[in-house]
Amino acid sequence: MSAAVVSPWRMFLGEFGESRVAVVAVSLLALIILLAVAAPLITPQDPYDLARLVLTDARRPPGYVGSNGFTHWLGTDAQGRDLYSAILYGLRISLQVGLIAGVIAFTLGASLGTLAGFVGGRLETLIMRIIDLQLSFPAILLALVLAALLGQGKWQLIAALVTAQYAYFARTAHGAATAERSKDYVEAALSTPLSPARVAFRHVLPNCLPPLIVVATVQVANSIALEATLSFLGLGLPVSEPSLGMLISNGFQYMLSGRYWISIYPGIALIVLIVVINLVGDQIRDQLNPRLKR
């Protein structure tokens, strides 16, 4: 590096820009988020305002001009909802659930993992045993069981997703914290009057962040996929808040009679979202992985 001081943030962004795939993925992701946030402004119809749905417009193919006067570019579903509008509203819900679950799982898992790695002893054994045990069960099974036990609802679903996923964060944070614990700067910080909790969360945790961020991107994509799967199985969100998974599920029965668009278009939206997040995550992983550094 010839420049006098280059902030790590700058360097990270510069390196990120070198990968064309990653830049395209990030732009697409930004576009998707923008579309989801601006959904009420850019959709011709509020898909959940029952008064404005026209049943005679139900299950029309893409390009059909509805009785409201606008064209349904992606067709309509069984209730006569404009699919383009429904997809954007569904994206909102899927993103919301995925992000909230991801953030809570991150906070819970990172705290538990750092605590276990930092304190050590009995507490570490106990926490990590529980987490190892949980990791030996597939996340989908755990989420399925919890969603079934807790019942339907957004927060119940988020609780199920968090329980299924926090263990991955805890595992990662624990590994990183154990490695950091033995370093000199931690010894130095502990010899000052700073409280151990402060050292753990203000000094050790930030140094454990890079691997956690990598896990976080993958897990947000996973929780969106998991939410869609649960909603598809009828264990996810209530009908009043249809996510992409539920739109796909609603269209499934019509697929057999050739009305593909009700399931296919929400499905494409879901896949693009997940693949894009995974691509961004891959790039971040490659950049933060010290073993691949030249």
């Binding site: 009828g234 593909y260 693949v275």
Partner: protein, 324 residues
């Protein structure tokens, strides 16, 4: 070694006990099971009699104790919906799940290992890149969505394969199997492909990573110097070396494939255990839910226990560390 086995066995027993308590509280104590069993217009006497008959007036710990006692006798109760013994119900559905699970795991291994080895042998070839691209899709696209696409393509558009059900079955030793009839096989194809894709992606990645590592070792160089053909090197040496981690993952994945079968069975209306449990969740058939959860937990704990013991038996370094 023996003390380690005993220690692990006791741990497994404790875990099983904790899970049974969680399942019990989750399924029986949350919500009111009595509302599911009798109609809302039942008289007060019937209500009290039912509560008494199921022991719901007992304190919670006593109900749990009775529940454990019955479990120990292999009695999971009767299904509210089918009115048959739950254990029999689950066991009668098991062959359907087993046949697609085994076919999927075997198929993923038999196809994934050669593909992955090729991708690791010639990592820069176009074919290798295509293989890896497909494996990325297998990882990130949700199973249920692939299932929908399969149905849409092969059952609806092309009309060449059935969209669901088991088709004709042949009975061998009192158990019905689909894979023994041609019609059954055509019904099996799509669910098996659906279930296998994720495992296939995993096998490809593992085999590729292993092959890339082994190809760089001196052993391969010496084998080449000795005049062995590339094919012999791959088959004789590389495959043997990467086989150990692959076999481990293969075993572990078998359990998680059973879990994923829930999704696949629902899409293809495959009458296996997974479909049974989803149906029981939507019809609030609690005894079936409990039996499924307990059996699956038992399965996973057994798999983990076996893997732990196998590792320690195979790796002396672990043995030294674990016993201290």
């Amino acid at each position: 070694m023996l003390s380690f086995v005993i220690q692990r066995l006791m741990q497994a027993a404790v875990v099983m006990l904790v899970i049974s308590a969680m399942v019990f509280i989750g399924v029986y104590a949350v919500g009111n099971p009595i509302d599911v069993m009798i109609g809302p217009d039942a008289t007060q006497e019937i209500r009290l009699a039912t509560i008494h008959a199921y022991g719901l007036d007992q304190p919670l710990w006593q109900q749990y104790f009775t529940f454990l006692q019955r479990l120990a006798h292999g009695d999971f109760g009767r299904s509210f919906v089918y009115n048959t013994s739950v254990l029999q119900l689950v066991i009668s559905r098991l062959p359907a799940t087993l046949e697609i699970t085994i076919a999927a795991v075997l198929g993923a291994a038999l196809l994934g290992v050669p593909l992955g080895m090729y991708a690791g042998y010639a990592p820069h070839s176009r074919i290798a890149k295509t293989i890896m691209g497909v494996s990325v899709l297998g990882f990130s696209v949700p199973t249920f969505w692939i299932g929908l696409l399969l149905i849409f393509t092969f059952a609806v558009n092309l009309g060449v394969l059935p969209a669901g059900g088991r088709g004709d079955t042949a009975t061998v030793m009192g158990v019905e199997w689909s894979f023994l009839t041609f019609n059954g096989l055509t019904h099996m194809l799509l669910p098996v492909v659906n279930l296998a894709l994720f495992k296939l992606a995993l096998m490809i990645r593992l085999a590729r990573a292993g092959t890339r590592e082994v190809m760089l070792t001196d052993m391969v160089r010496f084998a080449r110097a000795a005049g062995e053909s590339e094919w012999t090197i791959l088959r004789r040496h590389v495959l043997r070396l990467i086989a150990i981690p692959l076999v481990t993952v293969f075993g572990l994945e078998f359990g998680s494939t059973l879990a994923f079968a829930v999704v696949t069975e629902t899409i293809f209306s495959w009458p296996g255990v997974g479909k049974l449990v989803i149906d029981s969740i939507s019809s609030l058939d609690r005894p079936v839910m409990v039996a499924y959860l307990m059996l699956v937990s038992l399965l996973f704990i057994t798999i983990n226990f076996t893997v732990d013991i196998a590792y320690v038996a195979l790796d002396p370094r672990l043995r030294a560390r674990k016993t201290t």
